[in-house]
Symmetry: D2
Subunit: 398 residues, 4 copies
Amino acid sequence: MTDSATTTTGYEAIQEWQEQLYQDLHRNPELSMEESRTVEVVVAQLMEWGYDVKRIGGGVVGTLANGDGPTVLFRADMDALPVEEATGLDYASEAPGVMHACGHDVHVACGLGAARLLAEQKQQWSGTYVALFQPGEETAEGARAMVDAGLADAVPRPDVALGQHVLPGVAGTVSTASGPVLSAGDSIRITVFGNGTHGSMPHLGVDSVVLASSIVMRLQTVVAREIAPGDFGVVTVGAIHAGAKSNIIPDSAELLVNVRTYDDDVRERVLKAIERIVRGECATAGSPEPPSLTYYDQFPLTVSDPSAATVVTTAFEAHFGADKVGHLDPVPASEDFSRIPGAWGDVPYLYWGLGGFSEGAKAVANHNPAFAPTMQPTLRTGTEAAMIAALAYLRPST
Amino acid sequence: MTDSATTTTGYEAIQEWQEQLYQDLHRNPELSMEESRTVEVVVAQLMEWGYDVKRIGGGVVGTLANGDGPTVLFRADMDALPVEEATGLDYASEAPGVMHACGHDVHVACGLGAARLLAEQKQQWSGTYVALFQPGEETAEGARAMVDAGLADAVPRPDVALGQHVLPGVAGTVSTASGPVLSAGDSIRITVFGNGTHGSMPHLGVDSVVLASSIVMRLQTVVAREIAPGDFGVVTVGAIHAGAKSNIIPDSAELLVNVRTYDDDVRERVLKAIERIVRGECATAGSPEPPSLTYYDQFPLTVSDPSAATVVTTAFEAHFGADKVGHLDPVPASEDFSRIPGAWGDVPYLYWGLGGFSEGAKAVANHNPAFAPTMQPTLRTGTEAAMIAALAYLRPST
Amino acid sequence: MTDSATTTTGYEAIQEWQEQLYQDLHRNPELSMEESRTVEVVVAQLMEWGYDVKRIGGGVVGTLANGDGPTVLFRADMDALPVEEATGLDYASEAPGVMHACGHDVHVACGLGAARLLAEQKQQWSGTYVALFQPGEETAEGARAMVDAGLADAVPRPDVALGQHVLPGVAGTVSTASGPVLSAGDSIRITVFGNGTHGSMPHLGVDSVVLASSIVMRLQTVVAREIAPGDFGVVTVGAIHAGAKSNIIPDSAELLVNVRTYDDDVRERVLKAIERIVRGECATAGSPEPPSLTYYDQFPLTVSDPSAATVVTTAFEAHFGADKVGHLDPVPASEDFSRIPGAWGDVPYLYWGLGGFSEGAKAVANHNPAFAPTMQPTLRTGTEAAMIAALAYLRPST
Amino acid sequence: MTDSATTTTGYEAIQEWQEQLYQDLHRNPELSMEESRTVEVVVAQLMEWGYDVKRIGGGVVGTLANGDGPTVLFRADMDALPVEEATGLDYASEAPGVMHACGHDVHVACGLGAARLLAEQKQQWSGTYVALFQPGEETAEGARAMVDAGLADAVPRPDVALGQHVLPGVAGTVSTASGPVLSAGDSIRITVFGNGTHGSMPHLGVDSVVLASSIVMRLQTVVAREIAPGDFGVVTVGAIHAGAKSNIIPDSAELLVNVRTYDDDVRERVLKAIERIVRGECATAGSPEPPSLTYYDQFPLTVSDPSAATVVTTAFEAHFGADKVGHLDPVPASEDFSRIPGAWGDVPYLYWGLGGFSEGAKAVANHNPAFAPTMQPTLRTGTEAAMIAALAYLRPST
């Protein structure tokens, strides 16, 4: 991939196949938990290369047992987004209103590429390689679905789990970090209740608009007063809705709240404070009915294992060159990847970033209708990163 | 009408005709500013009785000049509501989703009944009687439309203007008052602007949900602190809307505010305070764009003239008996009636209530799908009230 | 008093005595519940005129039984204020920091004047006259003290109770009204508790400043949303105090709240709402200790009896002339007078205003250090008003 | 000091002298900017050892030029606190209400100890040593006073500046860090203006209690919404004061606000947001007068130089043993030390922590009346730390 690479991976032999595969995936995006076509593509390929293939919870796991040694799991997510593509690419989405705007097609293509190279080079390593393809990451459903469907029993316990995400960095680079790399994310749908009445007779009701507004103001104190200064915590009320006419006081109001944290204690503290404030304000208002709080889109914290970070970063620097391996700063996005290693309790894991854009080109953020990673060297780097990280565990030390 | 009535009105002769007319109107309700069929009914009748008829601004004015003497104007409104009727009446609405749920069909029938009786009894009075039928009261459009279309030039300046409304009182009774009887009503659509951003990066934007909530809290101080205790003023935020997802901070938020007052000074004070607070909070928030405030559904204050109240109440008591004439307490509903006498500057006016429900029966509030005044004695009382009030001015004193 | 007066009162004979008495009282003001010297003056005079005198709860009651007929009670309050006099009068206060700045010296002088005239003219009336002199009105203590000390048992139940107050109106005039004339007043000392901590570590405590501020904002909704528009209600937070240094979060915060209402139902509603809001906000804040709410300076509602208003107003108009008798608009001040008739349950009462300033002169408000009613015709009008009002009940109709 | 120490410092020879000196300083604490006795002690000692001594801005600087080489400045602060000592020590404060409760007596004793050892061992090093003794740290006045009095001209520009603080750690240990170690601190006295009025007539005034409370609520959004999540920022309203009586709406309200930050950009952002919010809320309230914001007790950020941290930490580990050298976590306290190196523009500096309490003993926090560091090995460690850090620059490399 670069002159400084000290390892040959045999990538050239699969490049044309992979680029075609990638374009096919990009043309045929599927929404979360509806990835049936993608699953068929993945299953067919893994079986062709001799993997023991299982369909679990809407996803696929291919296991390649290759003698004694550690077990390494590499996870790719498969779902697309309800976005109308606006990239102008030759291979743009053919599904109206659906698009691989988060790059999960890159993840699948690289995951299959690494699975193929490892299958074709079994003489170079020893142990067990598990290629996992997950549905429904965007809705926080997929990893849980696979775990609930018996992932831990279907696959040997890995010694390490690996995952990557294409991001607005320079193609050809990867970035790693130890510790928290992605935040926990929790959304809460809060409905609070008043008593509807004519707008000119407020004393005959309980004003749910005032109640909801008061909650919004009070929620500001959670971050400002209840978590330690410098601790990462975000409480956003992204939506507030109540009423339809100026002169009718509505019965109820709805708030959509999003919480982001990098620490489980802080998360617990924030969620408890939100519940206390919502219930307290309802009492203050004389609300006639308890509030309803429904959690949704809950993403766990992603905390890369320090030892895995050292092992893999060292291998990346050896292969790609130190100038191609950067530091992954924590970002307030969320992932359900960590639920996969969590299936076995406390399997260590590493999650790294994969640059996807030409140097100097304007990077477009994930989820944008114009999100279009450059095919190369993105696919090659993502494929080799998965392979090299796995080999850091599976290659016999000599 | 009652044993104690000291005046004969000749009502019996028109009762059957009027009840048929009323049922026809009830079956054929028309929405505000679309009252074409009703207008044709009114025009045909007034012409039949010898009125000089003009179509003005969607309404009708019939003038009957009958010698020297005062000019008296009686106004009836004609429009129905977008309500699906649920009365079960034989003569229920035949227009899907439209209903005379506010009783304006009673007003038209009584207005025509009085016009007929006065035309048939010209020997009993002297002066000019103006029967005015107004469109679009519910949307505050109709009176203004007639004034803008030249009402003041088309009709002689009245010495007094009269109007009535059927209400949830006992049929056979009327209620009058001097001074403020209906509130001024103002609605304001307020849009405030933030800067949208991802919910996890609030520092990159301006949070329009917090801004809108802060305005709601601050608006509470207008009534609590800025008008004199005991002054009537209501500021209701009937609706608040912003955002769609928990993790996206929205660009803007919308509030629908309703203001009710019984005094022009209080109204001015309240509206100024609202504007000051909205603009002040936008500055506080660092809002990137000035707020937009759009007034709509603005109803003027209705203040019955003390002298007219005395004249008409006395006549009512003489005709109906004192036990049938009550006091009309101010209610926080609104009307555009007062714009009609306002066409000539400061013509005094009186607005009275007409009971519409049998004693002991559960009265159903105006605008309810089950609103169904009892035909009698409601029609007779409403017709005689209009006639007696006019004659209080038009009958030569002997 | 005026040419139109149809009654002679014999006032001229006592004028010099009364003016000396008044100046003596003004020179010797006494604070609430410390009116010992004033009590001695009152007792000595009443005994001299043949009253049956009792000392009750810090006050004095003189009863003059004069044959069959109604019992009329007239009440005057005696206490002065902790104000440093700044009138420049010859007869200014000789007690440093204490002043008759509310005109209770006028009340005592007139009360004694009327008692003397009635005693000297016993042949003109029949019944029982009760001259009551009350301590501690300013602190809402005196009326309650007399009631608690057995007033109801010590004195015959009156048929009517009368009281007056010198106000910034024109001397020589009186003003009466039926219904609510003085508001109920309630003060509440509210202490709310947080957990103190260093200002840089808010997460280790509970911020009592934020809690108190949130309560202030929420209290605005009581008047704005919880009482009927147009109902008189005031909720003022007159003081807020917490903390001493910028970087120490204080343990607790104190609010002083004042409530004014003209209706017992509204008062109950407001007080309940305040308690609900304070407790609710403490729950919202996670306050470690229940709030403390202590009521003080509680004044009852003053609601003049309609029948008494008619009887006395008619007598005033007959005596003073209709042009000297005005309407007493309700003012948001408070009094404990109504506790006196309340001692017997539901004795009707009337409370009127007494003008105290020369026409054209700038009236100075009660409680101001420069408050100086003109001696005449204030004293004469106040004396005659008490006498005439009493005689309206006590003079045999012929 | 410990077995693992590889350097001898000659400390034993000065221990008795130093302990006496320390006890004398502890017995004679002096408040900020009143350190005259301490200054005399310092001046006398430095002169005795051959330093070139200058009195500057209430402090003392002793310069020891000893041949070619770098210039190293070591700063100690001298002032005590207005705290009544409650330690029970033999050598407790003899000044009523004043106490060395922050350990500046340790700093002075160690600063003099190091100055003495370096003067006695001039053959071991080459360059210039500057021993600086600063007044008024607690009030943020002293460093500025010395700079304003011409420090930069009076002393050669140092290559590095050093400082230390005794903290609740284990005696015998030191702790260092690179980057921000102490926060910037800013206090703001904010006065906002209303219009006073009687509590029952809020419409005649502008309620400063509501205005101040609204500002407190709005200030919560600064940390919650305007700085990046995870950035360190604290906005505390430590005090709020307005009004004296429940029924008087006060003219003005005062807030004392404290801000803590670890980054100049964040600090600027927070201060601007506070000013915007205060002014915005005053506009919202219709405040009749602009608010007044007065900054006080402003402490700069303390950011240790990375290179100095490496040089000194290495020297500390070599001398004390690695197990005695810990990491200094940033604490939200503040210091004016950085103003001293700031006198010359951008002189790098290092600030380290000195443990002061026996292992297992309960550490008492600075500023507590019971704050009593154990004399040894605290004094020895603090003296040697200053000496070793200086020698890391001054000792010729061989």
